[in-house]
């Protein structure tokens, strides 16, 4: 298959053209924009109920995923995420691993495996969900960001990097991180910066330029008030 990400970083969509019958793409429920009528679509809980529930409850993904299978060469499918922003394509090789923040997963080709990974107590304080999705195997993976995507290569360009937890999207397996406050104790409560991930090691970090929590806090005061009684 051949994939092309269009309209980055504002309103990205990925257009996939299949080359051979039997090629498959798995996508988050609701992510399909358009497809050739003869592309077969199957809705399932990937990996069975237990595995899907774990991904849903722990990884923030939807319970169901759709599998699209090519029946004729040249068929196409379009996929897009819900929020405005960018899509990043990663071509995974055996032995490579990618960690995704819950909700960032968009789609992948059939050779890519996903599971959730317990982040230990440090994930507990991040406010971003306890678990990260771990992607491995061989094939293409697409993840989405709210806003543009900013890449930081740690180990070469930077010896380490500090990233606001709500702006963290994905990172490669060579990186390690811990969750920490930034500044002193006073800053923890008053700076408005919340918690950060301090990354070290060798690898790539992807950050999103907008933060869904900040949009929600902006909108909150505009909600109407309903008085009971």
């Amino acid at each position: 298959m051949h994939a092309e990400v269009k309209h980055n970083p504002d309103f990205a969509a990925v257009q996939i053209q299949f080359h051979q019958p039997g090629e498959q793409v798995v996508a988050e429920a609701g992510a399909m924009v358009a497809r050739d009528t003869a592309v077969q679509m199957e809705t399932n809980m990937r990996g069975g109920l237990g595995s899907a529930l774990k991904r849903k409850l722990l990884g923030g993904e939807s319970l169901f995923q759709n599998t699209f299978t090519c029946t004729q060469p040249g068929q196409t499918i379009w996929i897009a995420p819900a929020p405005e922003g960018a899509i990043t394509q990663i071509d995974l090789q055996p032995g490579q691993e990618l960690y995704l923040q819950s909700g960032a997963y968009l789609a992948s080709s059939s050779g890519v495996q996903l599971d959730t990974k317990w982040q230990g107590a440090k994930g507990f304080f991040s406010g971003e969900g306890l678990f990260l999705l771990r992607a491995y195997g061989q094939g293409s993976l697409w993840f989405s960001s709210y806003g543009g995507i900013h890449v930081v290569d740690i180990g070469q360009q930077y010896p380490g990097y500090i990233c606001d937890t709500s702006h963290m999207v994905a990172f490669t397996q060579g990186l390690s991180y811990n969750i920490d406050k930034v500044g002193g104790l006073k800053s923890l409560f008053l700076s408005g910066e919340g918690l950060v991930c301090r990354f070290g090691g060798q690898g790539r970090l992807w950050m999103q330029t907008r933060n869904p929590g900040a949009l929600a806090s902006f909108l909150q005061p505009f909600r109407t008030v309903q008085r009971s009684g």
Binding site: P9, D10, E84, G85, A86, G147, G148, H150, V152, Y158, P159, G160, Y161, I162, C163, D164, H167, V182, G183, G184, K186, S187, L190, S191, G192, E193, R198, M207, T209, R210, N211, A214, L215, S217, F218, L219, P221, F222, R223, T224, V225, Q226, R227, S228
Partner: protein, 222 residues
């Protein structure tokens, strides 16, 4: 200090490069990421200054980022989608609509305009003023456009980002037909500028956006 605005025009981030020991002061919550050697301090800048800032619709606290023992990098962002502009402060001073302020050099003093007309102009507009010398980073909701005023111009207060402090302005109703007509027109309050100078205008109005979407959200139960 060097500021690069990336991912224009709608998903912008300001990549700020600091020299060793150089600092930048930023609005609370604006930091998206930074290099390991940058130190952050939270300051209220004195109780009175903090209170004035609170009245300015800004957050009470601001953060100062300082590069320690080498060059440093800070990424700054805004809650809503839009563009950014980097302005020189010194020969020209600026007045800023409170929600548009992102960051400034520590050598620039940014304070709420306590006196003069338009301190509280309604429509959520509080005005900040600059003093000193350095750089100023402002953000817009939507696209940003620099408009040259030569004579007079009327701009909706919700679309103002910042303007040349040399410009005279009065805040008032939009229509000449009276307050009721002005209210019904949906145009709210406007700034009437006079003189010569630049005004930065944003193509979307955050208050309008908030009330349009806010109506559709489930009500808050009290």
């Amino acid at each position: 200090m060097q500021v690069n605005v990336l991912y224009r025009p709608s998903q912008t981030v300001a990549q700020v490069w600091l020299q060793p020991q150089e600092s930048i002061m930023a609005e609370s919550g604006a930091m998206m990421g930074m290099s390991m050697n940058v130190d952050m301090q939270t300051q209220a800048g004195g109780v009175m200054k903090g209170l004035k800032r609170l009245f300015g619709g800004e957050s009470f606290f601001r953060n100062t980022f300082t590069a320690q023992g080498g060059q440093g990098e800070v990424l700054l962002t805004t809650p809503l989608c839009g563009d950014m502009a980097v302005l020189e402060v010194g020969a020209r001073q600026w007045q800023i609509s409170n929600s548009s302020f992102i960051a400034s050099s520590v050598t620039v003093d940014v304070s709420t305009q306590a006196s003069g007309r338009g301190f509280f102009s309604g429509a959520g507009l509080f005005i900040l003023g600059t003093q000193g010398q350095g750089q100023l980073l402002v953000g817009s909701f939507g696209a940003i456009e620099a408009v040259n005023v030569n004579g007079e111009l009327i701009i909706d207060t919700g679309h103002l980002v910042c303007w040349d402090a040399n410009l005279q302005y009065t805040v008032g109703k939009s229509s000449n037909a009276g307050w009721i007509a002005s209210y019904l027109s949906g145009e709210g309050l406007v700034c009437h500028f006079r003189g010569q100078g630049q005004v930065y205008v944003q193509t979307r109005n955050a208050q309008e956006y908030g009330s349009t979407v806010g109506r559709l959200l489930p009500p808050v139960q009290r």
